[in-house]
Symmetry: C2
Subunit: 520 residues, 2 copies
C-alpha cells in the first residue's frame, strides 16, 4: 500500500493514495483519498438498502445496466486507457484489448441475464401419489445473496478491477457491489467508478448499487461488515488467505471466492519437440513474458523431454523478449527476490539472468529463465513450483519415468498444458498425462498457451487450491455469476405470492425444468 | 461423546463407544471400537486410491451402486429398524418411514446420475471471428472433487447418517465417502456401513470407496486429512462452526457444507386464525413436537396476531402431545437447560411446562410451550430466536406494526412459513411478509408445516447463516450433489483425449449446452 499521511497545519487531513508511474517510479496525478471508516459504513448501508430494490428490477433492466456500463466505458475509452497506462505501464495496445474484453464480459453477462438459465428454475408439481410420502408443490430458483465485496487485482486494471468480471457477474446475479480498488491504480479506479455508477443510475439501478473504496484498512473493514454477504478476490496467496480467514471467522461467515496463485505447468512430448521444437520454445517464452509475466495464467514451469536441445533457443528467445516495467514496486521487489531464490537452488542453471534494468527506468526488469534436471527438480519441487509473479520461468528436463512423480507433486493450478504431435493423442502416456492434469487444474489446454482467457460460457478460471479458495467456481465466463446466488424453494405457494417467473400462468421467457411426478 | 476407557490388566486396550438405550438411559449391545489414528490414516489412503477409479466408472455403474445400496437396505430392513430403534427410541413407524425415504433418496440420485444433467456440460466451439479475440474450442463439465467426509447427525440415524443424503449425493457425484458416525447410534452405523460397503463392492466400486469411522478424535483427524477434499455436516451450530474453522484453516482449505441450526419461524395471519385458528394451533404443536421436536425444520417460533385467543388450544395440544425419549443424554440435558432459560426470560408466560419425566424413563421429557408479547419478544429476541433442540416452542403475540422489526431480527433459517386465508394472498402485508421471509430462508412454506422435507429436484434444504455454512447449496434434493463437484474445461483438446461425454462423435446420452458462436 502506498498511503501517505498529509499534514496541513496541525490537523491530519486524511490518508491518500498516490499513483506511481511504473516507468519512472515517481508519483503522478492527483492523490486519491482513502475511504474513512465512516465513509465505508455509509457505503455499506447504502448497499444494504439497495439490495432488495436492485434484486427486484426486471431482468431486462438488470441487463440494460450491464450494457450501459459497457457502452459508457467505450465512450470514455481514450481517457480510461490513458489513465490506466500512466498507472500500470501496460501499454496502449494491451489496454485497448483489455478494455474490449471488459466490455465483451459485461455484454456476455447481460446476455446471460436475459436468457435466464442462470436462475436454474425447477418446478416439481404436487404429487399425492409420491413415495414415500405425498409431495407438495415445490418451485426453486436462484436469488442474489446480497451485497458483494470485490477485491480488485493490480495486473488487469480493467478486466479484473473496478468494471471487471467480479463486478459484472455480481451485478448480473442481482447483487450490489462494493469494489476495494487496488492501490496500484487508484485514479483508473476512480474514473471507472464514476463511469459505472453513472451508467447504472441512468439505467434505473437504485442508489447504493455500486461503490468503490480505497485503502488497506477499508478493505479489511469491508470483508467483516455485516452488510456484505459474499466476496470475490483476485490476487496473492497471502492476501487471499488472510481475507478468506476474515470472511470465515465473522460472526456470520460469508463465502469468499479467491483466485490466488498458479504455476500453470506445461508439458511437451517428444513428438511435439521433434515436430516444432524451436517454435515451441519461442512461443513458450512469449506466453511466459506476455504482459511482463504478470498474468495469473503465466506458464511458470515447462517440462521438456531430456535431450531436447532447446536450451539455446529458449535462452535466445528470453534475451529478446520484450519487457515493460512491472506494475508496482512491491511486485518488482518480490520478482527480484523470487528469481534470485530460484537461481540459488541446487542444480539450477541460468539460461537468462533476471535483474533490475537499473535506475531511471522505473520498475523495469529483465526476464529470467532457469533450467534444472528431474532429480534436482524433485529435490526442491516445492520451491520450484511456487509462483513467482513476473517474467520468470523454469524449464525441467525429464524422462517419461519421472512424470508420475512430478504429477503427484504438482499443486492445484488454473491451467495445465500439453503440447503433442497428433499421432501421440492415442497413446497411453499422453492419455495418462491429460487425466492426471485434469485432476489438478481448472482448464486443460492442448497445443496452445494458457495466457489469454476466453470469456465464454464454457470457460473455467479457477482450480484446486491454491489456484482458488473454492475449486467449485470460476471467476471468468458466464457461470461466474453462480458464486453470488443461492436457491430458494417455494412450497405450496399461491400464484399471487410466487416470484413471477415461477408462476404457471406466466408467459415463460426463461428455461424452466418441470419435473416428472415421481409417484405418477 | 460416550467413549469409555477399557482397562485390561495394566494396558489401556482401546476406546469404545457403547450405545445407550434412550428409553432406559442404560448401555445396550456390544461396544463399537473407536477408530485409531492408524486406522483412520489407512482408510483415508484407501479413499484417495479409490478416487480416480471410482470417478472413472461409467455413470450407469455409479447409478447401479446407489440402487444396490437402496435394495440392500430394504433386504435388511427389519434388522436396521430394530437396531436404530434400540439406539434412538424414534419408534418403528418413524424409522420405517425414514428407511423408505433413505432408499428413495438413493434412487433419486441414481436417476440424476443416469440423466447426466448434473454434469452441466457446456460446449463452445472454436470461433475465429469472435470478439475481442478468436476463440478456442472449450468444453466444460463437472468432475468429482475427491474423497468427501460426511459427519452424520443424531436425529436421523438413516436419512442423515451413514446411508443418508450426504453419502448418497457424494457417491452420486463420483466421490469416495468416509462417514464420521454419530456417537449416539454406533451399532446402527456399523450395520449400515457393512450394508453400504458390500453393496458398492458387489456393484463394482473399487475398494476404499466407502468407510465409516467412529469417535470424536477420528472426526477431527478426518477433516484435516490431506486426502479429504470436501465435507458435509448436519448437526449443532457449535460443532459445525468448529469443523468449519478446521476445514478453512488447513494448509489446503476445503469446502465445508454444514447444516447447523434453524428457528424456522411461522407466521399466521388474522384471516387464517379466523378461518381455522384451533386447527392451526393443534397442527403447530404437532409439527413442533414431531419426533420429540428433534427435526432441523422444527417450527420454533409462531407469530400470532394479538388477541388470537388460542392460548388454551395451544396449551391443551402441548399437554396432549405424544413425546418419546430424546436421542441422547446431552440433548436431554441441553433441552432442560434451554427450556428453563426461555421460561426465565422477562415477560414469558408458560403455556406448557417443560421438564424431565423422571427416573426410570430414560431421556424422556415433557414438551414446553411459552407465550410472549411483541415488546418482550423484541427486548430478548436473540435468546428467543436461538434454536432449542427438542419439543419446545415460543408463541409471540404481535400486531401488524411489529412485524417489520421482527422480520429484521430473524436469523437465517432453513424454512419460513406463512398461514393465511386465500383472500389475503393479494394483500400487500402478506406479499411483503413472503418477500422478507424469502430473503432469510431456503424454503418458504405456505399453509403447511416445515417438518417433512420432500426429496425432489426442487427441494432446498439450507439457507443463510446459521441455517447453513454456505447458503448456496442444499443438503437434500437432487442438486445436493453440486456440493461435491468442480468444473474442468478442455481447450482445443483432440477427441481422443476428451472425456467421452465431451466428444462430438459420441452418441449423446446426457444434456449438453452447445453455445452459439459469438462472432458468427
Amino acid at each position: 500500500m502506498t498511503g501517505i499521511h498529509y499534514i496541513e497545519g496541525n490537523a491530519t487531513v486524511s490518508d491518500a493514495l498516490r499513483s506511481i508511474d511504473p516507468r519512472t517510479g515517481r508519483e503522478a496525478g492527483e492523490p486519491v483519498p482513502v475511504t474513512t471508516p465512516a465513509e465505508l459504513a455509509a457505503i455499506a448501508d447504502r448497499a444494504r438498502a439497495a439490495a432488495a430494490p436492485y434484486a427486484a428490477l426486471p431482468l431486462a433492466t438488470r441487463a440494460a445496466g450491464l450494457r450501459a456500463i459497457a457502452e459508457a466505458l467505450g465512450d470514455h475509452a481514450d481517457q480510461v486507457i490513458a489513465t490506466a497506462d500512466a498507472e500500470t505501464a501496460l501499454g496502449t495496445a494491451r489496454l485497448t484489448g483489455e478494455l474490449a474484453r471488459t466490455r465483451v464480459q459485461l455484454e456476455l453477462f447481460a446476455d446471460a441475464v436475459e436468457a435466464g438459465a442462470f436462475l436454474e428454475i425447477i418446478i416439481d408439481r404436487a404429487d399425492p401419489l409420491a413415495k414415500p410420502a405425498p409431495r407438495p408443490d415445490l418451485r426453486r430458483m436462484l436469488v442474489p445473496v446480497g451485497p458483494v465485496a470485490v477485491y480488485a487485482a493490480s495486473n488487469f486494471p480493467l478486466a479484473f478491477s473496478v468494471p471487471g468480471g467480479d463486478t459484472a457477474s455480481a451485478l448480473a446475479a442481482g447483487c450490489p457491489v462494493i469494489v476495494k480498488a487496488h492501490e496500484a491504480h487508484p485514479r483508473t479506479s476512480e474514473l471507472c467508478a464514476r463511469i459505472v455508477t453513472d451508467a447504472l443510475a441512468a439505467a434505473g439501478a437504485p442508489d447504493g448499487t455500486f461503490a468503490v473504496v480505497h485503502g488497506f484498512e477499508a478493505g479489511k473493514e469491508l470483508i467483516t461488515h455485516p452488510a456484505v454477504k459474499a466476496a470475490g478476490f483476485t490476487g496473492s496467496l497471502n492476501g487471499g488467505r488472510a481475507l478468506h480467514a476474515l470472511a470465515s471467522s465473522r460472526p456470520e461467515p460469508i463465502p469468499f471466492f479467491g483466485e490466488l496463485g498458479s504455476i500453470n505447468p506445461v508439458f511437451a512430448t517428444p513428438g511435439a519437440i521433434a515436430e516444432r521444437g524451436p517454435a515451441l520454445a519461442e512461443a513458450f517464452i512469449g506466453s511466459a513474458t506476455l504482459g511482463s509475466g504478470q498474468f495469473c495464467t503465466k506458464p511458470g514451469v515447462l517440462f521438456l523431454p531430456a535431450g531436447h536441445g532447446l536450451a539455446d533457443d529458449l535462452a535466445t528467445a528470453a534475451a529478446k523478449a520484450e519487457s515493460h516495467p512491472l506494475l508496482h514496486q512491491r511486485i518488482r521487489d518480490a520478482y527480484l527476490v523470487g528469481a534470485a531464490a530460484l537461481a540459488a537452488l541446487p542444480g539450477v542453471t541460468t539460461l537468462a539472468e533476471p535483474g533490475d534494468v537499473g535506475p531511471g527506468e522505473g520498475f523495469g526488469v529483465r526476464p529470467g529463465l532457469f533450467q534444472v534436471d528431474a532429480a534436482a527438480f524433485l529435490a526442491n519441487a516445492e520451491a520450484l513450483l511456487t509462483e513467482c509473479f513476473g517474467p520468470v520461468a523454469v524449464v525441467v528436463d525429464v524422462d517419461p519415468a519421472d512424470v508420475p512423480a512430478i504429477l503427484d507433486l504438482l499443486p492445484g493450478s488454473l491451467t495445465g498444458t500439453v503440447h503433442l504431435a497428433d499421432a501421440e493423442a492415442t497413446g497411453t502416456f499422453v492419455q495418462g498425462l491429460l487425466t492426471a492434469l485434469a485432476a489438478k487444474v481448472g482448464r486443460v489446454v492442448v497445443n496452445g498457451w494458457p495466457t489469454g482467457v476466453a470469456v465464454t460460457a464454457a470457460m473455467q478460471h479457477g482450480g484446486p487450491w491454491p489456484a482458488a479458495t473454492s475449486s467449485q467456481y470460476t471467476s471468468v465466463g458466464e457461470t461466474a455469476l453462480r458464486r453470488f446466488l443461492r436457491p430458494v424453494a417455494y412450497q405450496d405457494t399461491p400464484a399471487e405470492l410466487l416470484p413471477e417467473l415461477l408462476r404457471d400462468d406466466v408467459a415463460v421467457t426463461v428455461p424452466r425444468r418441470v419435473s416428472q411426478a415421481f409417484g405418477a
